[in-house]
Point group: C2
Chain length 106, copies 2
Amino acid sequence: MDIQLKRGLLDVCVLAAIKNEDSYGYKIIKDLKPYIELSQSTLYTILKRLETAHMLTVHTVEHDGRLRKYYHITEEGIKRIDDFKNEWNEILTIYRFVVKEDEEDV
Amino acid sequence: MDIQLKRGLLDVCVLAAIKNEDSYGYKIIKDLKPYIELSQSTLYTILKRLETAHMLTVHTVEHDGRLRKYYHITEEGIKRIDDFKNEWNEILTIYRFVVKEDEEDV
DNA sequence: AAGTAATACTTCGTGATACGATGTATTACA
DNA sequence: TGTAATACATCGTATCACGAAGTATTACTT
């Protein structure tokens, strides 16, 4: 998929991935794989960004002798998903414009 | 609207705006305004990028004593719109994932 | 006649971002 | 013994949207 189209979707996808259950980096990548592929460097960049924006909190848990960083969504993170759902209507309007122009002469 | 969400849509919108009739910068901005707002600096950056990518061609026409640069879509530009329409299904899948996760506990 | 809005294109600088490359470290399995 | 899987971190880079500022003409308003 076009890189540019992914932008704007990535943050929300990550938030959606941790919304119902706290999760950690490696699992998030695997969970999202069927929908959107993202590399580790991309994911950790996003997680750090979302943490700075207070959309999630982090807590470290020991698991099988190694550390895992679990990410927990905050109220602001939930609001971010809501905002996205509202913005979706604008996206749809734009999509319809493109299709309309495209089919005008078919 | 979220800046990131606009990315990926911008290029295609501009191409859609010139698809049925050659147009020029100032008019493109006005035509797109109801759907997506973009500044002059943004638009001209996009037009230059699309020209470099051979998705459109430029020809200058004198109009009322001043020069106007008309943009004409190419086959590749038309293909770009087609590609976008295909990618739209992936976007929809992602959208549905976000909504599904979001409504799981409602 | 003077001033302002609209038309029309250009360039510069900047912050945000996705991602490849690379590194570290442990566990599981062949 | 080796390799894949698990798990997180950092650096550098190219791309990009956009504000700011500039240039120049036409059209209107006062």
